[in-house]
Amino acid sequence: MINFNFYIGIPLVFIAGVVGGCSLLLYCIKHPEIVDKWLAMFTRFGKFIYKRWEYTYVKRDVQSVINGYIANLSKQVPNLLVKRVTLEWVDENITADQFIKNEMLVMRMHKSNNQNLNIVNATFTFVSHSLLVKAKSYIAKYQKNAIDLYVSYKILENKKVQLLQTYVQEILKEGLSHKKTNDFYGKFFDIDRAGIFFPVFLTEMTFLGEKVFGNKRNDQEIFDEVSNLVLFLYRYAHRKLHEELISEFDGQYCKFAIRIVGMSVKVHQEGEGIYIRNIQQIPDTTETIYIIGSVDNREFINNIVSKCLKTMQYDVYNMYEYQAVLKDIDNNDYRSMSCLTILRSRNVKYYHKI
């Protein structure tokens, strides 16, 4: 009698192994930050056995924190185009001539017993240097500083408590000693609680960075527009639950509208029509439309969007789910899972001749 279990069993185990191995490999290629995290965890303990792992730990740990955040951020702000960071140990035998000729820049990494400082310094340097590079060349210094401080805070927020403490002591305290920066930072905090700092504010900043200005740019006009934008989102963030705002921001460079698909009574009684009409009435000079609603109404919103797009010159730019903290009618916090659909106009004005 032939043992079928034996003949079928081995190839099946082999195929499952190959498929599993390939999937794992693919996952590692797609998520190098996870590999960094595992290697950092492994070498954190291994560095006491093998000295070279001290270097691996310092490098991989820094990379995993920064790149982990970039991976997450790219989902919220697709146009951010921030590059992943790789730390490369400098050649020990480099000479002054080579250093100068190659216009090199070398960051110092402390020993792993001071790893918090390494991560904090690298994070802040990375955010200041790489995030919103174009938009930052247009906005005011205090606005740029507030963005850098807030995004760095967000990167470190969910890591170790000591890391956040190091950040607060080493960088945040000093940064917030400037009144205007502090004021902006405070507003970012509230805007982010409402879930719209990254998907709306940073998205608008990336769009601003894509603009090109002819002749001499009026810097003050842009500074004022960014301040007004932050104030607009701050007011929006303080809206009450079920409060439906029809809100358009019609700046010189940032032109967007926010629409809330909200109250379940309205959704069920009046249906899609009222929302479709409302969105279709948005002026076509509006470059971006943000449609926000509860995740429970996701399908309802998708139907509205697909019907609107039949007649409007817009494309779906991003879809995103997030947790928002809103205020109920008694001004208490109310947590809600929200979804955001971003529509981007096909007729965006990129060039501004001033």
């Binding site: 001290e54 270097y55 310092v58 490098k59 790219s74 185009l81 590059k83 992943r84 960071v85 790789t86 730390l87 490369e88 140990w89 400098v90 020990e92 035998n93 480099i94 000479t95 002054a96 250093f99 100068i100 190659n102 216009e103 090199m104 820049l105 070398v106 960051m107 110092r108 990494m109 402390h110 020993k111 310094n121 690298a122 802040f124 340097t125 200041s128 240097h129 790489s130 590079v133 174009k134 930052k136 060349s137 210094k141 740029k144 500083n145 850098d148 080493e170 960088i171 000093e174 940064g175």
Partner: protein, 91 residues
């Protein structure tokens, strides 16, 4: 459209390499550059705050117009340095 998306994906996957030196190698690194004694004798200043830079508080070493410059670990100096790099990138 697809080509545009692929270009964007490629750009997203791009890496930014940052050169680094570990504390264990830092003294040797400065010696190789010929600036170690200048630093420990208080002969080098932070490019951004203009104060004498101590060996223990150097955060970055970089080359600029045929010279070797230092950045101290003060947050405002790190921020100014980042601005300086961003300006350089935009030029």
């Amino acid at each position: 459209m697809k080509i545009k998306n692929m270009a964007k994906m490629k750009e997203k996957r791009a890496k930014e390499t940052v050169n680094a030196v570990h504390d264990d190698q830092f003294e040797g690194f400065l010696r190789k550059l010929g600036v170690y004694f200048d630093v420990v004798n208080g002969g080098k200043k932070c490019k951004f705050c203009g104060k004498i830079v101590s060996y223990y508080y150097i955060s970055t070493v970089f080359a600029e117009s045929d010279d070797i410059k230092f950045v101290c670990e003060k947050p405002e100096c790190i921020a100014k340095f980042s601005e300086y790099l961003a300006d350089k990138n935009n030029d």
